[in-house]
Amino acid sequence: MTAETQDPTHDRGVPDWAWYAGVPVVGVVLYLLYGQLIPFSEWVTGLFPVARDSHTGQAIAFFFYDVPKVLLLLTGIVFVTGVLRSWFSPEKTRAILAGKRQIWGYPLAALLGVFTPFCSCSSVPLFIGFVSAGIPLGVTFSFLIAGPMVGPVGLGLLYGLVGWKIATIYLVFGFTIATVSGYVMGKMGLERYLQDWVREMNAGPVGDLLEERMTLVDRLKVGWEQVREILGKVWVWVLVGIGIGAAIHGYVPEAMMLKIMGGEAWWSVPAAVVVGVPMYTNAAGVIPIVEALLGKGAALGTTLAFMMSVIALSLPEMVILKQVLTYRLIAIFIAVVSLGILATGFLFNFLL
């Protein structure tokens, strides 16, 4: 994770009570600010010399409504997630999964993938750590797919920007794809397509770390560090995503959207996946785009397929995984997950 280099001593001198008091106070302030989003965006839009209901006026209003909204939501979600995740670690997750050889290993791995803190920069050591502890390859994939796909940041933003129904659908199907893809790959017996040195390491040593004791204040600090780190990293993606969302909201005519991303155009689902996979952003950047697409009448299945392929399959992650997987295995990985995403997309376009 490319954290901003930070002064590790910055919180020295903040007493425990300040944390216990500060967190609820900040929470209330953020909540109150959240209630002022519409007046704020209308006020800012009024400062521009354009008519409110012109294309440009609508785009500006969307932008200045979404930017503070997403930043407020992100702060809250990242903090809560950071605190919750301080009870989990890759080491504990590995110990839990190493004991599960049965079918329950797949959904359990997907569930732990959501809660275990890990960044893509350590996905290689993590992958080897899992495989060398005897965790089946398929179960490891379920874990690796679920992490980004159904991350709390994506779900929380989806909930805040497009509503609980679509957030729930996304959760259920994202989780199912992670579980089933892992299971399918487990059944394919792909161990021989690992890089040679990874297979040879199978009996390798497994480091054990004494668990570090943490107080509640330590956990709150973890949450705060996460907020600093993640917001410091994603704010650019958020602005770009909202900018694109605002352009769609303001300028793209609904008739054109229906033609390209409407339910009638069957090819739009595979096209959404093909466009989505090489796109590299994160949940925080793509969900404002999703919001604008759905608002203009894009079909739910097509939009879900686009969002899932952007978030779950990213080229930089594949490049990192190349160290442990052969091209063939990476291709199978992309193919299986893409099929799951396609199936989800078609299902929703067919049903709705």
């Binding site: 954290a3 080491e91 290689v124 993590l126 054990d208 160290q323």
Partner: protein, 78 residues
């Protein structure tokens, strides 16, 4: 003389960890040899799954994030 290894693929937090170790060592007046391990295979071989990881004299003491300063001084003086 203690041998400290920082395990990590070269992200900013790994560099920050290395700087913390050096700073703590000079503060305590302990001589340390800090070695950065950036190769994925060696990181995994050491049993580190979340980076940055830290070992002192061959013993893994920490993994996953910046170490706590007080704990770090504890490991260096142990």
């Amino acid at each position: 003389m203690k041998t400290v290894k920082v395990y990590g693929p070269g992200c900013k937090r790994c560099e920050a960890t290395e700087a913390m170790v050096k700073q703590a060592a000079s503060k305590l007046g302990i001589e340390v040899a800090v070695e950065k391990v950036t190769d994925a295979k060696s990181i995994a071989m050491a049993g580190v799954m979340s980076t940055p990881g830290l070992s002192v004299d061959g013993k893994l003491v920490h993994a996953g994030g910046l170490p706590d300063e007080t704990k770090l001084e504890g490991w260096l003086t142990a």
